[in-house]
């Protein structure tokens, strides 16, 4: 499976100070081997996954993968080029450095009953149970990291966080 490093202080979609990160939006053919092939290329070429998400695309039978990849010692454009060689890969768009919307989702259950600070940040309550309240929040990487920071002060029972989805921003 993919080597996805858990990140406490998650970097923003285009982390500052790390120009080795590429942000790629990839359209792939659905199939039993697709994920193996994509992750195989990433591992074999010495790249590292920093963020990953996958979901259906607009066309049936095709999915969109959003990748944040550290290209390691390789030339920056190698990530795109190597992915493009895969027959399962239909399209690779490199969004690194471009204006974009990059969104991540976090879902958390907190023990505290006073949720004002979270709600002020834009959290939405999903459910309330005996062990705490479950909220969701979405934002760019920095916002989500700030939010997670805030969560810590509310007694985290459980928290899950998604990888990013990105879209080029048109002005």
């Amino acid at each position: 499976m993919l080597e996805i490093k858990p990140q406490q202080a998650a970097p923003a979609a285009t982390p500052k100070g790390t120009d080795r990160i590429r942000v790629l939006s990839v359209i792939v053919e659905d199939g039993p081997n697709t994920l193996t092939k994509v992750s195989g290329v990433i591992r074999r070429r010495g790249f590292h996954v920093r963020g990953f998400s996958v979901g259906p695309s607009r066309q049936p039978g095709r999915s969109r993968i959003t990748l944040e990849i550290d290209h390691g010692h390789a030339e920056a454009d190698q990530v795109r080029k190597q992915l493009e060689r895969l027959v399962e890969v239909l399209e690779v768009e490199d969004l690194t450095g471009d204006p974009m919307h990059s969104r991540e989702l976090v879902v958390a259950t907190v023990a505290a009953s006073d949720l004002d600070a979270l709600l002020k940040k834009g959290a939405r309550i999903l459910s309330t149970a005996s062990d705490g309240t479950t909220v969701e929040f979405s934002g760019d990487g920095d916002e989500v990291s700030d939010f997670v920071h805030e969560l810590a002060r509310h007694g985290i029972v459980d928290v899950v966080r998604s990888g990013p989805v990105v879209m080029r921003r048109t002005e």
Partner: protein, 556 residues
């Protein structure tokens, strides 16, 4: 279904080995007399045979193996083909689709195990996928940058009956071919070379794969630019041509390496520019102000050396597009070519003739004298490989076959067998060290069974010679685990396999032994007991720049 599809693709030979998971295919083999199946003795042998067949004939090689151990025995052969861009189709049996994932008998994740050594692979779990998959596989294996494609077919699919459908057109949206040449870049590249003071062209396997030898020669002559080839590019440019630099890389000729290191414009055509070509990367071609890189695989651009001008295209089309733009040359070209001639004089290929021991070069020179350019040489890996590369004057493409990218010992014998199936009209010589030879020697049975005219030249130095040389030169002279004194008596071994063989220990016996080999129909082996201290020169010490090549000592 599988066999019909192969017939439709024009397959002539299949190199294979049966087992539980591909029995349904074998059951019907006899109904397809056009498909000639060669039963190998080990699946690795099948992959190398298909590889040799493909390199010699230009047609894709086809391999069959069963699931689990059968398929996994192909891995080294697939990797060898993948690294050298050889078109191949491997069809492996897989357990029933309902059993996949249950650790069934002889189940293994073949796609997982081979995806990094194949251009593409398929797992077929439904019969209706099969015709399309096979047709696509041939297309992908043979077009663009060629490579091996694996098709893993579940056993129940092999048995299923379905309507016979002929796939008509191909639609593979994720498979992009780089056909067209950027004319602006072609123009720029041609002018850069013409305007250079010290141009050098390096040619790789891609030139052979795209049949661009003629265009390369025309272009080099028009630009008066000298040409070196990579190990796999041998044959792309005639060694005897006045502009030839022979072979480049860390065991290349001294005059080629000097030319590369002094070039102001370096054009690299159809090659990956790997570490065996560049040696220490930061010291590769330090005087080159302009790097031009032509390759059909865009991911090669900048992978190792960042080009100033890049052409992602078929080598032949690119050179064709460049030729008209060469125009007037830099007037000083004569000086550069004279300099190269001086280096050629100063750093010739040389070896020790006179210590009373049999020298490998003596063997190869005699062989070349007989065969000229009318034979295919398939070399193994090690010292024997480099001697075979340097001491023949290959002046046509396709005459030298070896495992360059993967360096797979044991390649030569099965690949030579495959090459003979692919080009029955040409004599085929297998040059191997004794170490590599015994790794796949069981395939001698195939040569005997099919009375194949494959002549085996064993350069027997009683050691893992190349490793021994590295240990002597670069690892403190500590000889560790390289001694091969305990090897079979090769003449007796051949007798056991049923082919004639000779042992040669003296210079005077070289010619008579080759006479005997040439007189004999069918396979023949000569065990040349060569100087165990013979070394490969020139050689660039590991981790050093190309200009630091070491030469053979001068012998009296």
């Amino acid at each position: 279904m599988v066999l019909e599809a192969l017939e439709r693709e024009g397959v002539e030979y299949i190199f294979g080995y049966p087992g539980g998971a591909n029995l349904p295919i074998y059951q019907h083999l006899h109904e397809h007399p056009k498909l000639k199946h060669i039963l190998v003795r080990h699946e690795q042998g099948a992959a190398h045979m298909a590889d040799g067949y493909a390199r010699a004939s230009g047609k894709p090689g086809v391999v069959f193996a069963t699931s689990g151990p059968g398929a996994l025995n192909l891995v080294t052969g697939l990797c060898t083909a993948y690294m050298d861009s050889v078109p191949m189709i491997a069809i492996t049996g897989q357990v029933n689709s309902t059993q996949v994932g249950r650790d069934a008998f002889q189940e293994s994740d073949v796609i997982g195990a081979t995806s990094s050594v194949t251009k593409h692979s398929y797992l077929v779990t439904k019969i209706d996928q099969l015709p399309r998959v096979i047709h696509e596989a041939f297309h992908i294996a043979t077009t663009g940058r060629p490579g091996p494609v694996l098709i893993d077919i579940c056993k129940d699919v092999q048995q299923a009956d379905a309507e016979r459908v002929t796939p008509e057109f191909l639609e593979i949206p994720g498979y992009k071919l780089n056909g067209h040449v950027d004319l602006g870049h072609a123009h720029q590249a041609a002018r850069a070379l013409a305007a250079a003071e010290r141009p050098v062209i390096l040619a790789g396997h891609g030139v052979l794969l795209s049949h661009a030898e003629h265009e390369l020669r025309q272009f080099a002559e028009a630009a008066a630019a000298p040409v070196g080839t990579t190990l796999l590019g041998i044959g792309a440019f005639p060694v005897k041509h006045p502009l030839s630099l022979h072979m480049t890389g860390f065991m290349g000729t001294g005059w080629c390496l000097k030319a590369v290191q002094n070039a102001d414009v370096l054009m690299m055509v159809g090659m990956r520019v790997d570490d065996r070509v560049t040696a220490k990367l930061s010291e590769f071609a330090p005087n080159a102000k302009t790097f031009i890189h032509i390759d059909i695989d865009g991911s090669e651009m900048g992978k190792n050396v960042r080009p100033h001008i890049e052409l992602v295209a078929d080598a032949r089309l690119a050179l064709e597009a460049m030729l008209p733009h060469v125009g007037a040359l830099n007037a000083d070209r004569g000086k550069w070519l004279a300099q190269i001639d001086a280096w050629r004089e100063e750093h010739p290929l040389r070896y020790k003739h006179s210590n009373g021991q049999l020298q490998p070069q003596d063997v190869l020179i005699d062989m070349y004298r007989r065969a000229r350019s009318e034979a295919i040489v398939v070399a193994d890996v090690g010292q024997n490989q480099i001697w075979a590369a340097l001491w023949w004057n290959y002046d046509r493409p396709g005459l030298f076959i070896n495992s360059g990218g993967s360096g797979t010992m044991g390649f030569a014998l099965p690949a030579a067998i495959g090459a003979k199936f692919g080009r029955p009209d040409l004599p085929v010589w297998c040059v191997a060290g004794e170490g590599g030879f015994v790794m796949t020697a069981q395939e001698l049975s195939v040569a005997v069974e099919h009375k194949l005219d494959v002549k085996i030249v064993l350069l027997n130095n009683f050691s893992l010679g190349m490793v021994r040389q590295f240990q002597d030169d670069f690892y403190g002279g500590v000889r560790s685990q390289v001694d091969l004194t305990h090897m079979p008596d090769f003449v007796k071994l051949c007798e056991a396999y049923g082919l004639p063989a000779l042992r040669v220990e003296k210079f005077e016996d070289i010619a008579p032994s080759f006479d005997a080999a040439e007189r004999t129909k069918g396979p023949f082996l000569i065990d040349f007991r060569i100087d165990p201290e013979a070394n490969v020169y020139p050689i660039v010490p590991l981790g050093k720049g190309l200009n630091e090549f070491r030469e053979a000592p001068e012998y009296a």
